[in-house]
């Protein structure tokens, strides 16, 4: 049967892509963040992860206001890199696993999460700003197939934090019920604090970020009582992306704790990476 062997929470941002593509990951400016990602990549090798379920939000790079899904799941064997407005980044399409994707889809629908079904999905920086640091081989090939799960945090009304928590529980059941012997890591990308509009543009809220990192690790269900106003007032309007971490965390055992954590407030964002190794209690 498939097992969940770990979880990752990570920021996503075009700035990370620009730094990576410019070869600036080892500069003084970016090493604090990319060093952490490198460690997470090494740990993924050690834990022999062979599938990633990546929970993220699209930013008008695949979906448009004309029809915007609340929850959507990729069920394809590959996902092209989205052109976000300046040409797609020079990576091959992200590898998928259609069989596993369709299984997860059936399981989520059986659990009353009625997903939008994506046989075609272009993935944007929500997936591929953190992905190269943890999943790219020496020949720039993707190593671990990805199942993308998209949660709307862009077009209001948004699914509640409590609903996102329940979705994570359902993702867990979908993995545990798959007969193939897979080692799965759940990834949630987004946040932490940032504010991209209005007179508060560029404000980073370190207090919120630190509180969030502690709660998501130790008492994540408390975050389900937060309203979107709470997240926005304390972390900025774009901080609502942290619900992607909440889905991830709900798929892990309650007593899981991060074995890696990095927080790097820089320029207009509170960047963070957390990784949870739950491989020792496999099948829990």
């Amino acid at each position: 049967m498939a097992r969940i062997v770990g979880g990752i929470g990570a920021s996503h941002a075009p700035s990370m892509e620009h730094a990576y593509d410019a070869g600036a990951t080892e500069t003084e400016e970016w090493r604090p963040l990319f060093g952490a990602f490198r460690e997470v990549g090494r740990w993924l090798d050690e834990v022999r992860a062979d599938r990633l379920i990546v929970i993220y939000n699209d930013h008008f790079d695949h979906f448009f206001l004309g029809s915007w899904p609340t929850f959507a799941l990729g069920v394809a064997d590959e996902y092209p890199i989205a052109d976000e407005g300046q040409g797609p980044r020079a990576f091959p399409p992200v590898k998928g696993d259609a069989d596993f994707g369709w299984h997860i889809l059936r399981s989520l629908i059986a659990d009353e999460f009625d997903m939008t079904i994506c046989q075609e999905l272009e993935v944007d920086h929500g997936v591929i700003s953190p992905l190269p640091m943890v999943d790219l081989g020496a020949a720039r090939e993707w190593k671990i197939p990805v199942i993308p799960l998209v949660v709307n945090v862009i077009l209001h009304p948004l699914p509640s934090p409590r609903r996102c928590w329940k979705l994570g529980k359902a993702v867990r059941r979908a993995v545990l019920s798959y007969p193939e012997d897979l080692r799965v890591v759940i990834v949630g990308t987004g946040g932490l604090s940032h504010q991209l509009t209005g007179t508060s543009f560029g404000t980073v809220k370190q207090d919120f970020d630190q509180e969030f990192l502690k709660l998501i690790a130790e008492d994540p269900e408390r975050l389900t009582a937060y309203t979107y106003e709470d997240f926005m007032k304390r972390g900025g309007t774009e901080a609502v992306e942290v619900v992607q971490w909440l889905v991830m965390r709900a798929a892990l055992p309650a007593d899981a704790r991060p074995h890696m954590e990095t927080y790097y407030p820089h320029r207009i964002m509170g960047y963070a990476v957390q990784a949870y190794d739950v491989s020792s209690g496999e099948g829990r």
Partner: protein
Amino acid sequence: MEQVEHEELTDDYWRRLEATRPKDLPPELDLFDEETSRRGLRLNRAAYSLKDEPQRRLFAEDENRWMAQFGLTDEEEDLIRSRDWIGLWRNGMSIYTMTKLIGVTGTPLVEIGKQMRESGGGD
């Protein structure tokens, strides 16, 4: 919102319904909300189109012909023509579609940020 009286409409129901609409946000947070997305549909459709290379080429070759595809109002066309980022934002263009327009006009995001901070608030 006016609360209709009905025994099946519990306090918990009203609380959940209320939570779908963020409110009481300080003006400096100027959220892209339901109202903005309805108001900004045309402008966002135009900027979204720039994720495709042929649209970017058309934009570079003939901006007016590019704009003519989206049923924009005269005011909206003027906002794009004059690179009035604050005006575009106030008329409902999302920051995420705006980044595509920023890209083809060669405007750095920090410049947008500077204008946002100095704009003196939302609507």
